[in-house]
Symmetry: C2
Subunit: 243 residues, 2 copies
DNA sequence: GTCTATAAACAGATAGAC
DNA sequence: GTCTATCTGTTTATAGAC
């Protein structure tokens, strides 16, 4: 599970080596990562045969060894790709408002920023079909924490959670790095993630036939109601503590 | 993935056939289910070799075919076993207070019952190591909804969620079968489940070295704070609606 | 009921031609 | 860079002795 790659042409970690003519390939490498992310996400590492991945990608099986040194290397490349994409999304969505370099807004504004972020997260997680494989990929990794979780944590989860904590603290008057604030933010994220994971259960229980715009709105309304209620309670608690 | 079993001695679905002398076996069947639930839960269906399962159970490989008709049959037997155990737990923990036959308590009492249920759920999910395999087993199934999810939904999730909705409605004055109540209850459950799934991330972010009693208490405090805040908000909303 | 031995299919990896 | 062909190990399943 944690073996070194043989790194054939060195495209994986180098990043800058071959400047020109680097994209001489017809995009086989990228096609493999795209197809593999879906297969690995949906079926898991062991259950996804490299033959099926290569067929999905429309390339030859042996190119997996050529580019990634083997199945394990392809899997890790997928993880890095997911981390990179999510990191880019987070960089646009929340870091400008709650990141370390950002000037924190006043309380009600901070709350509004969090509400917008929740809305975007629900749209992506609950509605966007492309999020399915990504979510399952990450969930699976969380069960066996290893290198992939390290990457995801450092590049995505830690920065996003820290920024959200700063915003929550700004909104409620708490201390951004306190355990209470961290747990409150995790609770919030957990609700949304759960609506993705348990989607079939939620839909059945609510009698929903699809997860369309109306259903996503209902989820947003519920989560944002919890957010506001928690914010009110936290403000009261923090006001009392400072008196 | 959805093939019929060959049902060798008919112990699987019959249930009442062989009255006496049914436990003539040294418990090989049960040992297999126990070992397989762990392996399937931790590694997934495809990644768990029946050889390893048989070795863990201390029985011969071929008994899997004998008792369950094959690997798939063993997997389904594990799912039924999990559903049965969870159903038994739920039957003791929440159905007596929120089930259809139960007399609903007054608002503050209903809230206290929910708080106790949350506390128990956190203890089981977040602390109990035995819950790890079960949780992952279920999460995996939720990604490919099929027969197993049907069983889990009908036997466990639906009755528990319905009972929780009745308690929540009693606590806040809402309508038990309304979409708002159902979503509020899912949000609550989602928070707890997330603390199990994302446990490595939570621990890292909080700087926790273990998930002991103190850490579980912190999680409970956070979730129950959200519960109370949401209850206050819901009561206000429902009071306003009825005026 | 439990075992050994083996069949039949499939997996990932790679050598070597182009 | 991409392909075919093949090697090697592992998998599930089963036939048949006890």
């Amino acid at each position: 599970m944690a073996k070194a790659m043989k790194s054939p042409p060195g495209k994986i970690e180098g990043g800058k080596a071959q400047d020109a003519a680097a994209e001489a390939s017809g995009g086989s490498r990228e096609a493999l990562i795209r197809a593999a992310t879906i297969r690995f996400g949906e079926e898991g590492f062991a259950a996804a045969p490299i033959r099926a991945i290569a067929a999905d990608a429309g390339v030859n099986l042996s190119l997996i060894s050529y580019y990634f040194g083997g199945k394990q290397g392809l899997y890790e490349a997928c993880a890095r790709d997911i981390a990179g994409r999510l990191s880019a999304i987070a960089g646009r969505a929340i870091l400008p408002f709650g990141g370390e370099a950002a000037e924190l807004p006043p309380p009600d504004m901070a709350l509004a920023v969090i509400e917008r972020a929740i809305s975007a997260m629900v749209d992506f997680l609950v509605r966007d079909e492309a999020s399915h494989a990504v979510t399952r990929f990450i969930m699976r990794e969380l069960g066996n924490p290893g290198l992939v979780v390290d990457i995801l944590y450092d590049d995505v989860m830690h920065p996003v959670h820290t920024a959200a904590c700063r915003l929550w603290a700004a909104a409620t008057g708490g201390e951004a790095e306190s355990a209470a604030v961290k747990l409150a933010v995790f609770s919030l994220i957990g609700q949304i993630v759960y609506f993705r994971i348990a989607r079939p259960v939620v839909m059945r229980r609510l009698g929903w036939q699809e997860m369309g715009e109306a259903e996503a709105e209902a989820v947003k309304t519920a989560v944002i109601a919890n957010l506001r209620a928690a914010a009110i309670a936290a403000r009261q608690k923090n006001a009392k503590a400072n008196s």
